[in-house]
Symmetry: C2
Subunit: 393 residues, 2 copies
């Protein structure tokens, strides 16, 4: 009897492992914690990343180039043929200069058409700079067929708040963010820039993937720019599709506090600069009154400045507890925020890695579901957030 | 062969369950989330709880009585013989009146000696009120042998910031918190109350369990009160022993921001009112300068007011991911904060239950490791935080 039991237990253990292979299980006394691991270095203030495969990606360096990195070979190749109207102020004015290269995104049919989208600060000699969004063919580390989608005129000499975020919605449309391009509110015209539907700045725009304008964009009044989808937005760099609800979320930089997280609504007015959860930088500026009933409130705002940027919904399996959670990096405090959601209700908010803060621009996920972070440093890094299973007894 | 395999799998599954009983496992595609469940109601602003068994507890009602509750029978019995110098201002002055009954704690040998400790706002006719800590025998829902441990004189007519927190250290000593009892800083004497080692207010005190003073308390200078263990503390209501490090942590109420989390150090000076992470309420008050090198910095501070109170280290097994985490409730925003720690390093901070905020005074754990919350309401509740296993596919 004893011998039979011994064999049974052995057999049972083996089969336990076998069932684990089909339905992996973790022991209650082992828990998974996140750890950072530097995967790639030497990126000049990386802004965004688009994975070409599990180990290859296009990366935009805000103060450098559009590059292709190979995580296995540890190589970085500069992509040839980048538009030559890229502003030459990059990194030369001062540290706070927002000019540079911003988002990079693959067309949903990239495998067939080799089309990518990217955004950058474009210059016009004698006029200044503005945010520009283009599509291009990407092949053999070169760009061709560069086609403008949006040039957010006017060009100005101000180096701030370009926006530059891009996302593709579940509707197959391209959503672009343009900042209002001011530093001081007392520079606002009578109708504040972000409230003016005849001005492309301080807005989110919606395009078809071929660069044409969808017929079902919201109608925002006489002379309104037809690509405008939402208004009253100071400066949004992060925009992303929530997979399980198909909503689009975006972060917004405030001035003094006022950093917000919003859900995109067709024709929505997010209030800037008339209404904000923070404080205006120009103490004497009195914006015109807006009917608050017509405004869309933020879904979340911070009580202190965090400078939230490139957000990402996590759908991987390495962190089961984090499935469908929203991750938002912050520039000013080097934070990484995790939002646990139920649909579009925020259940909890966690600030992670408090003992290893690093100024970060973007959270991204690889095709197989690995979670990454881009650090906004001159020697910028691609950091992987790895699951570490530790005993918790 | 097919038949053998079928039996094997069946057998394996059975044994899987068998091993689960010894070493419980959870599937990766099931994750545990916290949910609130109201276990008991009708407590008049409950402040603290001391479990007598898994289903019975002593509860202090700030604006009511010391009571015994039975979670199974759903009964609440008023404890007889409470000291009759309990201030009669409770709840009658205004909502912000801090007077009341505070902490309740069992002696480590309660089973043998039936000794409990508790704290409250005591009055002296014509003089005012102050924080008082006593021990007593608790038997048959009655108190006897009530013995004062600390009466934090002077008695004053101010209704704020009594402190009242108590914890027993790993050294078997009793740690008591006394607030500085001011509302405005311009009422401070030349040596601010919390900096004055001849004044018991604005301090943490250390006693033997019999109420005598330990010989190894820090020496804090001429005429210092010998029970004082740390100084410069505005108002601490929450103090708790961290099981795996044996450190004592305490929360501190700031004025405008300045809410802090500290680790207790013998002879430590936590800076109030000379140095704070918040802003002073009296704009024109200039505290004397302190040598910052002699101050103990907070381990954490919030950038907005949360009014942190009765903290608790979780050692239960229902939430494996939370083992040894620190939980802190907040009064002002109805928050529940979770601190993930590695020793005394804070790794991450999560604000939980954002869609069900409730003003809470205390987090506590039952003998078997269930996690509870006391809500600071006139119909105050004991809320259990239950683990809900949900599919996360």
């Amino acid at each position: 009897m004893a011998r039979v039991m011994r064999y049974s237990v052995l057999f049972g253990l083996t089969l336990c492992l076998a069932c684990n292979q089909n339905k992996p299980s973790i022991e209650v006394n082992k828990v998974i914690f996140p750890e950072k691991e530097v995967i790639f270095e030497g990126l000049n203030r990386p802004w965004s990343i688009a994975f070409l495969s599990e180990d290859e990606a296009l990366v935009t360096e805000k103060n450098g180039d559009l590059v292709r990195i190979d995580l296995l070979k540890q190589t970085k190749n500069r992509i040839k043929g980048f538009p030559n109207d890229l502003t030459d102020s990059i990194g030369t004015i001062h540290v706070g200069d927002n000019s540079g290269i911003y988002e990079v995104l693959l067309h949903p049919d990239f495998g067939q058409n080799q089309t990518i989208y990217f955004s950058y600060a474009a210059k016009k000699p004698g006029k200044g700079k503005t945010t520009k969004f283009v599509s291009a063919k990407f092949k053999n580390d070169s760009l061709s067929d560069i086609t403008p989608i949006l040039i957010a005129e006017p060009f100005t000499e101000i180096n701030y708040h370009y926006g530059g975020g891009m996302a593709i919605g579940e509707d197959g449309k391209l959503y672009l963010t343009v900042g209002e391009r001011l530093f001081w509110e007392h520079d606002e015209p009578e109708i504040p820039i972000a409230q003016d539907v005849t001005d492309p700045r301080g807005k989110i725009h919606r395009f078809n993937l071929d660069g044409s304008i969808p017929e079902d964009n919201p109608k925002l009044g006489p002379n309104s720019i037809p690509s405008i989808y939402a208004i009253g937005i100071r400066n949004t760099q992060g925009i992303a599709l929530q997979p399980n609800t198909n909503r689009i979320w975006f972060t917004e930089h405030g001035t003094i506090q006022g950093d917000e997280l919003n859900i995109l609504k067709a024709g929505g007015n997010y209030g800037w600069p008339n209404v904000t959860t923070g404080k205006l930088r120009s103490k004497d500026y009195k914006p015109p009154k807006l009917d608050r009933a017509e405004l869309t409130n933020p879904t979340w705002f911070w009580h202190h400045t965090v400078a939230p940027t490139g957000l990402c919904f996590y759908t991987g399996s390495e962190f089961p507890y984090w499935k469908n959670n929203l991750f938002i990096p912050g520039l000013s405090r080097g934070s990484l925020w995790r939002f646990q959601l139920e649909g579009d209700t925020i259940k909890s908010v966690e600030e992670l890695f408090l003992d290893s803060r690093v100024r970060s621009r973007k959270v991204a996920q690889s095709p197989e579901g690995k979670l990454y972070l881009l650090t906004d440093l001159e020697n910028g890094q691609l950091v992987r957030i790895i699951p570490k299973s530790i005993s918790n007894n």
